[in-house]
Symmetry: C2
């Protein structure tokens, strides 16, 4: 059941049948009608996508790859916000979105073996083998929340500036002993987090942003990393900072998910927020305005990020298709401090041992 089958049936050349489906203006309307109805009758649905992809050199799908487990794409509120915007933005172009797992093991590696027209590299370990495959395939790529590479279009947010604004905010509130809570799923958790040890571009940039302000101010810093994957982990990590006599009076968090863990840990320990503890998140995810107390955070516009990324990717694909030299843009979207209930003026520090 191929084009040829229809062609023989109608008595035209294969090419004409192809045109009937793919380039309606290349043949007379009446013949086209005849061909389509013959196809209908024979149960021919349309040109085989795989064959078409080979001949045309394009597939109609783009990939998105991240180093985390695929599940992350559906559980993390920032990821869902972003990917949802991407998907919506891509829909009218007819492109479908394929979720690539970055499993380097196994004999099948999606980044190498799945046909696609281009890909988004999102929140990825940039030296991961999967990303390397994408490069070597010379696929049109767009980096999102990723260290910028001069040759590759990118969409980022002003992580560093936003983090600095958050730090400035707590300093202005009078806080001087400040906890920093990064995310991290690899390696040992615990105190001490340096820009070098930060996992991923955003972690690093946000930490740098905090330090930009806190360093010169001479604040006392207590940093740690924690996993935001599950609420249990998040709470556990927060304990590292709160369960100590010299606990910070303010905690800056890598994300709202982590900040949420801090809020819960604080509640369990009977620490009042913002009375005794100021908590600042990052992202302004949908939860941030729903939890009690509502979360002071740094907003990023996920919809705008999605739109920008989709636009950059379709542009890159278009340029690759036509062979035009691609102008490489590096977009940085603004962030904005949103002050809500979880931050307040520094109170007298609790006497050692009085916590809990």
């Amino acid at each position: 059941m191929t084009l040829q089958t229809i062609a023989d049936q109608v008595g035209v050349s294969r090419m004409t049948v192809s045109n009937a489906f793919s380039k309606p203006d290349q043949l007379s309307a009446t013949l086209r009608e005849r061909i389509l109805s013959a196809a209908q009758e024979l149960g021919y649905v349309g040109p085989d996508p795989a064959a078409r992809a080979l001949a045309r050199g394009s597939t109609g799908a783009v990939g998105v790859i991240f180093t985390h487990s695929v599940r992350f794409a559906f559980t993390d509120l920032v990821a869902t916000g972003f990917l949802g915007a991407i998907a919506e933005e891509l829909a009218p172009t007819g492109l479908s979105l394929t979720l690539l797992t970055s499993s380097d093991d196994g004999d099948i590696v999606p980044a190498r073996d799945v046909a696609m027209d281009g890909a988004l590299v999102y929140s990825c370990d940039w030296k991961s083998q999967a990303v390397d495959f994408l490069h070597r395939r010379k696929l049109p790529l767009v980096y999102v929340d990723q260290d910028v590479d001069d040759d590759i279009p990118s969409v980022n947010i002003d992580d560093r500036g936003g983090a600095a604004a958050a730090a400035r905010h707590v300093l202005e509130l009078g806080h001087r002993r400040i906890g920093l809570l990064l995310s991290g799923t690899h390696g040992p958790y615990g105190l001490l987090a340096t820009p070098e040890a930060a996992e991923g571009h955003s972690s690093r940039q946000r930490l740098l942003g905090w330090l930009d302000e806190l360093g010169p101010a001479g604040a006392e810093l207590i940093s740690a990393r924690q996993d935001s994957a599950t609420p249990e982990h998040a709470r556990w990590g927060a304990r590292l900072l709160l369960d100590r006599p010299d606990r910070p009076t303010a905690v800056l968090c890598f994300s709202d998910a982590i900040a949420y863990g801090v809020l819960q840990a604080a509640a369990e320990l009977g620490i009042d927020v913002p009375g005794q503890l100021t908590v600042v998140g990052f992202d302004d995810n949908p939860l941030a305005s729903q939890v009690r107390p509502t979360l002071t955070t740094v907003r990023q516009d996920l919809a705008a990020k999605g739109r920008a990324a989709a636009a950059a990717l379709t542009a890159a694909i278009e340029h690759a298709r036509t062979g035009a030299p691609a102008p490489v843009e590096h977009i940085v979207l603004p962030t904005e401090l949103v002050i809500r209930e979880s931050s307040g003026p520094a109170a007298a520090p609790p006497r050692p041992g009085s916590a809990r």
Copy 2:
């Protein structure tokens, strides 16, 4: 830069190079090594996915299609739970997940034009043209939350039984005037919802389940449909039921998302839950145990549903590949009533006009 390039360079046949990449046991280790290093040197990444898809007849990706906007895949908590489980379950098989939009307009229709090995039909308008394309392509399919078709494997939950349990629960609590709140995004909203008018399999089954119990019990029913897409819509719909003198003392909701809207509307109207109003949801989504009051609901196991769907799909693909006759399974997963804070015994009905 094709297999032939490498073949010429090394001085072997094209087929041997193909085997070096795809069937390592078909040639000597030393020659394979030689081929791979030559490929590396020439910058050849691996067999072209599109060409391989054509020759092999399989692509390494499966689709998932739903009638809603693609965004729905990332915003609805039930959808994200399910899709996350799917993606995770698919990862070890090496299959990637492609999100198909069901846009029938435009010249490119993913359901017809994207290459894939099989597809999940999830929560879809079953007479949608997109689903019809999938059928006609004779792709291995699995129906999820969909009316069963004898010829197509399906995974469903016991919607009707769960709904009946919820209805029984409110009856046992003494409620006799009961509101039914379905979901619906098409057509006019408003009172009156019949099984025929219900949109989609789940809606219909859940409504039937309620009626199974409420009908014989002679309860007074007030039904309506509302959109759960945004919290505003949800609240607005709930008003239809609550903003009336003879308002129900209990409301059964199609989903937790809708129930959440009812809770909010109740709070706005100063109606105490569960004191003056019992609210029962469906799905037991993550929110259900987080909101105050916590939501009495009917639990479905999304992870199990994802696992079952992924397994059914890979099985169907495998059968199609080998040409073996596919045993068509229809899986129905159990549901379970979870009683929390939002349901309580029926109180004396408010005197007409006293509401608000």
